[in-house]
Amino acid sequence: MNPEFNYIAPLNLNSALKILSASKSRAKILAGGTDIIPGFHIGSKRFSSTELLIDIKRIRGLDTIKEYKNFVEIGACVTFSQLSESEIIRKYFPLLAKAAETIGSVQIRNRATVVGNFVNNAPCADSVPPLLVYDAKIQIQSLNRKREISLQKFLIKSYTTALKKNEIVTKILIPKPEPELKGDFYKLGRRRAVAISRISLAVLMKTKNSLIEEIRIASGAVTPIGTRLYELEKFARGKAANSDTFKELSIQLGKKVLEITGLRWSSEYKLPVLQQTFYQLLEKVSRDEI
C-alpha cells in the first residue's frame, strides 16, 4: 500500500537539490521507481516512511550517455534499455550492456535506471559487478558541493550507500578500458527472464605470453553486496592463464565467499555452483581471447 507522500518533479537539478536540502529526512529520490513502488507495495520499512518523492526524470541532461576522449558518462536517468541499445556502451563496456539486457523484463528495463540499481544496492544488483570491473566512479551533488567517489567506496553494505540525505547521484563516469582487456558477465537466475540473480560474476582479463597480466573480478548476489575481489586478482596476476590456474582461482573464490557469508541455507547449492560457473567463465574468457 502506498504511504501518503508529496510528489514533486523539478525541471532542473538545482531546484531538485534545493528541495532536497530544504526537506527533512523523509525525502526520496525517484527515478525509474522500480524499487520504490514495489517497496511501497510490500510495506518495506526503507520506503514506508517516505513523505516526499522527488522525481528527477524530467530534469534535462540526466538521461544521456556521453562519450569523451578517455571516459564515458552515464546520466542518473539513463535506463537499462538505453544502456543495452547504446553503441558506445556496447563498444567499450560489453559486460555492462550484457548485464543490462538480462535485467527484469522489457517493461522494467524501460523504466529502471542504472544509477537507481546501485543506489538501492541490493545484493543482486546486476549492473554492479560490471561497473566495478570497469572501475566506475560516480559523481554526487548537493546544493553546495560536487564530489566524485569510486563505486566500490560508495557501496557500504546491502541497501546502504555513502549517499547523504541532501545528495543526488548525478552521473557515472567510466574510464574506457584498454582494448586488450577481454571479459564476460555471467548471471544465474531461477529462470531465463524476469529473474533475480542468484549468482552474478564479471571478469576482465588480459594475458601476455600465456600469463595473466591483468585481471579484474567482481561478484554479485553471492556476496552481501556487489564486490571487487582484489585479493583474488592479486593472487592471479602473473600466473599462467590455464585451466589449473582457473580452477585454483575458482577454489579461492569459493573460500572467500564462504569466509564472507558463512554457511547459509543456500550454501550447499550456491557454493559449488559458484566455483563451477566461475571456472567456466574464466575458461570462456580465455578461449575467446585465443
Binding site: 500500500m1 502506498n2 514495489p38 517497496g39 510490500i42 510495506g43 518495506s44 520499512k45 526503507r46 523484463s105 541490493a122 545484493p123 546491502s158 541497501y159 544465474l188 531461477r190 529462470r191 531465463r192 527472464a193 524476469v194 529473474a195 533475480i196 542468484r198 585451466s243 589449473d244 580452477k247 585454483e248 575458482s250 577454489i251 569459493g254 573460500k255 564462504l258 554457511l263 541455507w265 543456500s266 550454501s267 550447499e268 547449492y269 557454493l271 559449488p272 555452483v273 566455483q275 563451477q276 560457473t277 571456472y279 567456466q280 575458461e283 570462456k284 578461449r287
Partner: protein
C-alpha cells in the same frame, strides 16, 4: 458421420480477441456503479485457533467505516461448500488456515480500510498446527473440523483381480514414491466481484466468476433468497484454470451480504498477495507405487497408495482424488490393481480444482516409473508402452471396456515418436552418462561435505550440457464422469435479417468456447461466424448447465449448441419443403450465408432473405438445445464402473538440455500429440496446447508454493516462479482426430490433457540426459543437483 466441413476445423480468430488486446473488454474491476463502496477483509495471524472474541472497538467509530460485516450478518447458511459444507463465509468458530477471513470492513476509501483492518482485535486460543498430511490420520493429531470426527475427507479404493497373485507372477518388483507440491493457478486477473442490491428484484452480482450457476446456489443459500432473485453475471474473465470457483462463490456471498446490509453496490477486489493467500491450490500428492512386471515387460500388478493434502477445507478434494483413482494406473491394461487414494484435512491452504484435476500428479509418477521399468529391462520407453498400452476393447482398472470410441493411445504414441525421431535420439543420449552430476551424492549432511571443490571436481566446459528426450502418454475421461449430473443447454435466436444471438449455459473462461460454439452454428446453418453475437452470460437467461470444468465445454456445451442449431435446421427444412414444394429426396443446403436446393439453382435464397421469409410465415426462429451425457455408473466400495462415457488420448515428447553444473533445465522442444476428437477451431486448439504445455513446464521445473506454518511463502510472482516465453522453446501441436459418437461430430476434450503430460515427459527427458531419476516436483535447480529442496528458515526478506 459428416466428413466434409465448411467451418469446423478451420483456424478462426476468437470473437473476443480484438477487444481483449485493445483493452476494450470489460473485466470485473472495470465495472463501477454510483454509490459503490469497497469491502476489505480482516484476517488474523493465526494458522489454527479458536476464535474467542472479535473486538472492533478501535475502529468501529472511524469515519471511514460505513459498516462491518461478519458471520452474525448471515441470514442463511454460515458455512458453504460445493461438496461438504465446511467452509465459513466468515470464520466464527475457528481459524483453520492463514487465509481465513473473520470480517469485512465496508467504506469508500479502500486504502484506509486496509489500514483499519489491521486494528481489529481478534482474541484467539491457539491450537496445535497440522501441516504434514502424513500425520493427519494419526490418533494424536489435532482435528481440523472436529464435527466430522476425522481428518479423512475421502477414501477411494479400487480393487481389481488378485494383487498378491499378480506380484507372485512377476519377475521383478519396482517400488517408488513420488511427491508433487502446492501449485498456484496464477491467473492474470486477481479475484473481483461486485454485488448490486435490486430491492424487491433481489441481487445482481458481476464478477470474475468461473461457474455462475454454482455461485448463484451458494449466494442464495447464504442470503436465504430463492434462486431466481440471485442474478449472477460473468464479466470477461482474466484466466481461471479451475481457480475461480469456490473462492469466487464465497466472495460473491460476502459482497451480497454487505450489499444487502448497506443497500449499496459493494466491490471486493483482491491484491495478488490476498489472492495467493486465500485462494485454493492444486493438491500436493504423495504417491507410493509398487509395480510387478515380467522380464518381457508385461505389467502384472500395480499397488498404489496416494495421499492428497486437502488443506483446510474439503472443496473439490473428493472429485479430484476420484479422477486420480480412475486414472492412477495410466493407460495400461493391468490384471491386478489395488489402489487407495485418500484426501485429508490439514492447516495448509485448501486445495481444489485446477487444470488437470488429479491427473498431472499421477501421470508424473506413473509415467516416470514406466520409463524406469523400460531402462531396467533394456528396452526403449515407447516399447514398454506398446506392450502394455490400451487398445481397442481394452479393460481399464475400473473394469470399463473401451469400445465406443477410437482408442488411439498407440496411434498418438507412434505419431509422436515418428515426428521426433524419438527412439534414435533416446538411445544416443543414453550413451552420454559418462560425466554425472557431481553434487548429488553429498545430500546426507552438509557439514560432512566440504563445499570447496577439489580440482578434479571441475567439469570440462564441453561436458556441462547433457541432452535428453522423454515421453509421457495418458488417457483421460472426458467431462464430469460419475462425479455428477452432466448436461448442458444452449439458446439460439435467428433475427429477421439473418444475424443471430447465441448463448450457452457454460461460461467463457478464456478457453475460446464462444468462438467454438459460433463455428458449430455456422457449420449447421451456414450463418457466417461474424454474424453470430454471443450473449452476455447471466444465470437469468439460460438453463443451469453445470460448471465449466473438466474440459467439458466443447463436448457438452458444443453438443447443446449443435442440438439448438439442428432443431432450427429441421424446422427450416420442413418449412422450405412445403414452401418450395420439394420432393422427399431433395437436399437443402445451408452454407456461406445461403440456403438452396442441391441441383435446383432457381431455388436459392440468401440466409437474410430466408430468415425474413420464415419470420413472415410465422416460423419460430429461436430454439433451446439440450445435451445430456449418457448414463454411467460407479461403485464406490470397489472402484468398479464405467467412470466416464468416453476418453481422449495424448502423448507428449520433451527435448531438454540439462546443465549439470547449475542444475538448469532448458526445455528446447515439446511435441504434443493429442486426440481430442474432432477439432472445432484449429486456432483455439493450438492455443490450448501452447498454454497447457507452458503451464506444464512450470509444473515440471519451476513452480512450488511452499508453506511456513501453513502460510504461503510465495505471495507474489517475484517469488512464485512461472515460466516466461524465454523458458519454453518450440511447441509443436499435432492432432490425431479420433472418431466418437459423443460430442459435436465427435469433438471431445483438449484443455487439460495438454497440461497433464508435460512434467512427466520433461522428467523422463532429464533422466535420459543425466541418468538420474527425480521423484519430487519441481525438478528445480537444487533438486537437479542435490535431489532435495533448500529453503530459508524464515520468511524474512532482505529488501524489507
Amino acid at each position: 458421420m459428416k466428413e466434409k466441413f465448411n467451418v469446423v476445423g478451420k483456424p478462426v480468430i476468437r470473437e473476443d480477441g480484438k477487444a481483449k488486446v485493445t483493452g476494450q473488454a470489460k473485466f470485473a474491476d472495470d465495472y463501477k456503479f454510483p454509490n459503490m463502496i469497497f469491502g476489505v477483509m480482516v484476517r488474523t495471524k493465526a494458522t489454527h485457533a479458536i476464535i474467542k472474541k472479535i473486538d472492533y472497538s478501535e475502529i468501529e467509530n472511524d469515519k471511514h467505516i460505513i459498516t462491518i460485516v461478519d458471520a452474525k450478518d448471515i441470514k442463511g447458511l454460515k458455512k458453504t461448500g460445493l461438496i461438504r459444507k465446511d467452509q465459513p463465509v466468515f470464520a466464527f468458530e475457528k481459524i483453520v488456515t492463514p487465509g481465513d477471513v473473520v470480517a469485512m470492513l465496508l467504506g469508500e476509501d479502500e486504502d484506509k480500510l486496509r489500514l483499519l483492518a489491521k486494528k481489529v482485535k481478534v482474541e484467539l486460543e491457539e491450537l496445535p498446527v497440522l501441516n504434514d498430511p502424513e500425520k493427519a490420520l494419526n490418533e494424536d493429531s489435532p482435528l481440523i473440523h472436529p464435527e466430522f470426527g476425522s481428518n479423512l475427507i475421502v477414501h477411494h479404493p479400487l480393487r481389481k483381480g488378485d494383487i498378491e497373485k499378480g506380484f507372485a507372477e512377476s519377475d521383478f518388483i519396482l517400488e517408488q514414491t513420488y511427491t508433487t507440491p502446492h501449485i498456484e493457478h496464477a491467473y492474470l486477473e486477481p479475484e473481483c466481484v461486485i454485488a448490486i442490491p435490486l430491492g424487491e428484484k433481489g441481487i445482481h452480482i458481476i464478477g470474475s466468476i468461473q461457474n455462475p450457476f454454482t455461485a448463484r446456489r451458494i449466494v442464495a443459500e447464504v442470503i436465504n433468497y430463492p434462486l431466481n432473485k440471485v442474478k449472477i453475471e460473468q464479466a470477461e474473465l482474466g484466466g481461471s484454470f479451475g481457480g475461480k470457483d469456490d473462492l469466487m462463490c464465497i466472495l460473491s456471498a460476502r459482497a451480497a451480504v454487505a450489499a444487502l446490509k448497506t443497500n449499496r453496490p459493494v466491490k471486493i477486489r483482491y491484491t495478488r498477495e490476498e489472492s495467493i493467500l486465500e485462494s485454493y491450490k492444486r493438491h500436493p500428492y504423495r504417491m507410493h507405487y509398487k509395480v510387478g512386471y515380467t522380464k518381457d515387460g508385461k505389467i502384472k500388478a500395480m499397488k498404489i497408495d496416494i495421499l492428497a493434502d486437502g488443506g483446510a477445507y474439503c472443496s473439490m478434494t473428493p472429485f479430484v482424488t476420484w479422477r486420480s483413482v480412475v486414472q492412477a494406473t495410466g493407460p495400461y491394461e493391468i490384471e491386478n490393481v489395488w489402489t487407495d487414494v485418500r484426501g485429508v484435512y490439514t492447516n495448509n491452504p485448501y486445495t481444489g480444482a485446477m487444470r488437470g484435476f488429479g491427473s498431472p500428479q499421477i501421470i508424473f509418477a506413473q509415467e516416470s516409473l514406466m520409463d524406469d521399468i523400460a531402462v531396467h529391462l533394456g528396452i526403449t520407453p515407447d516399447e514398454i508402452r506398446r506392450i502394455n498400452g490400451y487398445r481397442q476393447g481394452s479393460i481399464t482398472a475400473s473394469g470399463q471396456r473401451l469400445e465406443n470410441h477410437e482408442v488411439n493411445l498407440l496411434k498418438v504414441l507412434d505419431t509422436a515418436c515418428n515426428e521426433t525421431n524419438f527412439r534414435e535420439k533416446w538411445i544416443e543420449n543414453e550413451k552420454h552418462h559418462n560425466r554425472r552430476i557431481p553434487t548429488i551424492e553429498f545430500k546426507e549432511n552438509i557439514l560432512k561435505r566440504n563445499l570447496i571443490l577439489s580440482k578434479n571436481e571441475f567439469i570440462n566446459p564441453d561436458d556441462i550440457i547433457k541432452k535428453g528426450i522423454g515421453l509421457a502418454v495418458s488417457f483421460r475421461g472426458s467431462s464430469l464422469g460419475a462425479e455428477g449430473i452432466d448436461a448442458a443447454a444452449s439458446y439460439l435466436s435467428i433475427q429477421n435479417d439473418g444475424s443471430a444471438y447465441l448463448l450457452c449455459g457454460l461460461a467463457e473462461n478464456g478457453q475460446g468456447m464462444r468462438t467454438a460454439y459460433a463455428i458449430i452454428v455456422s457449420e449447421i446453418l451456414g450463418i457466417p461466424v461474424e454474424n453470430i453475437y454471443y450473449l452476455e452470460m447471466t444465470t437469468a437467461h439460460i438453463p443451469d448447465s453445470g460448471p465449466t470444468v473438466a474440459s467439458r465445454s466443447t463436448i457438452m456445451g458444443g453438443g447443446a449448441v449443435k442440438n439448438s442449431a439442428e432443431i432450427l435446421r429441421k424446422r427450416f427444412e420442413d418449412f422450405l419443403k412445403d414452401y418450395w414444394k420439394l420432393n422427399e429426396n431433395d437436399l437443402i443446403v445451408f452454407e456461406n450465408n445461403e440456403v438452396y436446393v442441391k441441383g435446383k439453382e432457381n431455388l436459392k435464397l440468401s440466409f437474410p432473405e430466408f430468415a425474413n421469409l420464415a419470420y413472415k410465415n410465422g416460423i419460430c426462429l429461436s430454439s433451446i438445445g439440450w445435451y445430456p451425457g449418457p448414463k454411467i455408473h460407479w461403485e464406490e466400495e470397489t472402484g468398479h464402473g464405467s467412470a466416464y462415457f468416453t476418453y481422449v488420448y495424448g502423448c507428449q515428447v520433451a527435448e531438454v538440455r540439462v546443465n549439470i553444473i547449475t542444475g538448469e533445465v532448458y526445455v528446447d522442444r515439446v511435441t504434443a500429440v493429442h486426440d481430442p476428437g474432432k477439432v472445432i477451431n484449429l486456432l483455439g486448439a493450438l492455443g490450448q496446447v501452447y498454454g497447457g504445455v507452458t503451464q506444464g513446464v512450470g509444473y515440471a521445473i519451476f513452480e512450488e508454493l511452499d508453506k511456513h506454518n501453513g502460510l504461503p511463502r510465495e505471495l507474489n510472482f517475484d517469488q512464485y516462479i512461472i515460466p516466461t516465453s524465454k523458458d519454453v522453446g518450440e511447441i509443436i501441436p499435432i492432432f490425431v482426430e479420433g472418431k466418437d459418437e459423443f460430442g459435436p461430430w465427435g469433438a471431445k476434450s483438449l484443455g487439460e490433457p495438454t497440461l497433464e503430460l508435460t512434467a512427466a515427459a520433461i522428467n523422463n527427458a532429464i533422466r535420459n540426459a543425466v541418468g538420474e531419476r527425480y521423484f519430487n516436483l519441481p525438478v528445480n535447480l537444487e533438486e537437479v543437483l542435490l535431489k532435495r529442496k533448500l529453503r530459508p528458515e524464515d520468511l524474512k526478506r532482505g529488501s524489507l
